[in-house]
Symmetry: D2
Subunit: 156 residues, 4 copies
């Protein structure tokens, strides 16, 4: 079931619902669990954020960011815009992509989308504004070279 026409515009020059699996170089597989469903018997909206998170953690780990312990080089989520295009139910298998679409001085935007296996259109997509952050000192830090190197804007 596809919910159309309820998206709102995005500063990243890319409409979430136009995202394709081929827009992402970094992709990970993920399977639903029974408990991911809520009392409406579909996958809960907050649970989908845990899907995004698991893949984002792996992506950021490859860029040298610790997301497990309070270390000098971390990130903190400041803001996000999420669109839900389809309902999911358990059991489902999916692929989730990550891509850095904006870089600032101490923050960057990571775009992420969830694709059912075998489909080109996303079931959900989000843009996450992450602040590079030192959890020990509890303050923001400059973005790293690894982030700059991974920057792939949709329309440069």
């Amino acid at each position: 079931m596809i919910l159309r026409g309820y998206s709102y515009s995005l500063d990243s020059n890319m409409d979430h619902k136009e995202l394709k699996i081929s827009d992402f170089d970094f992709l990970k597989s993920l399977d639903t669990r029974w408990r991911d469903m809520d009392a409406i018997q579909h996958i809960n909206n907050a649970t989908i954020l845990s899907y995004f998170e698991t893949v984002r953690v792996a992506f950021l780990n490859d860029l040298g960011f610790s997301v497990v312990r309070r270390q000098s080089k971390g990130v903190i989520l400041a803001s996000m815009k999420i669109d839900y295009f389809s309902q999911l139910s358990h059991p489902s298998a999916m692929k989730i992509g990550c891509r850095i679409v904006r870089i600032g001085t101490t923050s960057f935007d990571l775009c992420s989308a969830i694709f059912f296996n075998g489909f080109e259109k996303p079931v959900s997509a989000g843009t996450f504004t992450l602040v590079t952050f030192n959890y020990t000192k509890q303050k923001s830090i400059p973005i790293t070279e690894s982030i700059k190197d991974s920057f792939q804007p949709f329309k440069p």
Copy 2:
């Protein structure tokens, strides 16, 4: 710890970080649980969405919407924009407000914000685009009079 300067603009004519507890007529109390914290030892971003959800469900229930069983009059989440201004840890007590800030034909925007007890500024706030939805027929339905009656735009 307050994260400032990472908000982005909102179509609702209201910056999330300017929200005050007095902006909300509908408010519910909520307590954290230990498991709400993640491996970074603060309240997880997706868990905060379950806080919003619990209060939104109560708010919508008062407007005549079932959010437990698949009935004729429900809502489905199409989109959301969330800002995180402060980190939370367990144990914390908070109040969460809900307010309908936009109405359309078959959808509306619900603004929600979380306030630590005793503070005026929000720790997190979000705007949720909800589609009025018949889960049995799996299609959108017109918004109800109860939603129109509750419409309180920030700048009418």
Copy 3:
């Protein structure tokens, strides 16, 4: 609704820590998620129950039990005894087995164990006392032939 008379006796004649992956004909793979870790930075004890649950649901589905909607033929958990032998962290891949080790008139015991890929000894194991249950009528029902056919006691 009170479930009486199903109180626990671990008469399965099997010590959980002696379980081997070869004790299970029914096995499913499962991957951890980042959010499965708690503030102690290991996989949370309650989350491990969701692992067991996802595999149990698949096992029971094969036996003709619905565990999604309130239908005539369901099960309800009355009791469980869980042992934790090792700490887990994310990311980990595992296999989880299910086996019916006791049958009664309107209840049965399902033994389940989690194995790290490549290891013979379980990281956690549990015995779940499940009551065959009609959720519409909210009362227990006799166990089915499918359950009797799957009965595999450890020491017959």
Copy 4:
């Protein structure tokens, strides 16, 4: 890390379903959340363990145990036996009690029960075998005086 030798014997001389709210000196209030329900539209069995956990953490904190950061004095869950007597749905308010019912050299049993507000009989109860544990050294440690002082067996 393997926890050996803590396998279960419910030698607490107390049947879980006979527990009364007056059996507990330590009691905390807790409210359900909408997301605590699962696809069967009742409170999920694993979520109930998070209820127990939140109250157990508060109880252990009063005894000088840190359950947030990896410090020298912690506990680790080795085993548990849980009984579910009634189904819960959202919204519900409850009280949860904790009581140390067995002490060993490096472990103890904590009995915990959940009571609906206004009811004497538990909706769920569990006995948790906890090992006193140094997370930095990853080894068990002797139980503390604070635990010995809190020891309240059901039948001394």
